[in-house]
Amino acid sequence: MADRHERFRDAGCDVVFVAHDEAALLRRTMLAELEPLPFPVLVDLDRRAYAAWGCTHAPWWTIWLDPRVWRSYAKLLTSGEKIRGRGSDTGQMGGDFVVGPDQRLVYARPQRVDDRPAVGELLSVVRETPA
């Protein structure tokens, strides 16, 4: 995470993460062994921001019966990633957005299945956006 953050910072882009679980649970699971973090992680317990930014909730079968999800887990595990423990609601989808200097979105990609864009795709958007 930290090395990727540097690549965005070097391209003139801040990185902000938003999560919907309690800070203590995040620190025990998703963020375990990753602190101190070079970017803010915001806590959205009532998920108002998730909803406002168009991040929907998916029924469990659309996630766990999707072979792409299992392929992505296999890829992460074989690349050395650890399973860090799940959160309170694995059906809450995320999303990636790039905000321009005029506070308008230059990129919007709400997650519909386990389909996060590659870091390279996001970096390309950032690098091609006039500051």
């Binding site: 003139g12 406002a52 995320g94 790039v98 979105l105 230059v106 919007a108």
Partner: protein, 44 residues
């Protein structure tokens, strides 16, 4: 709360939330020149 589908060109919705340490963060006026906002799916 109903969700909306945002696309490029739309105004960024408000993002004012506490950080992990409880400090208040507001995206507006705080980032330069771009910001990547990544909403996490907490799946393990």
């Amino acid at each position: 709360m109903a969700t909306t589908t945002l696309t490029a060109g739309d105004p960024a919705p408000e993002l004012a939330l506490p950080t992990l340490d409880g400090e208040q963060f507001d995206l507006r006026g705080r980032h330069a020149p771009l910001a990547l906002v990544s909403f996490l799916r907490h799946a393990g």
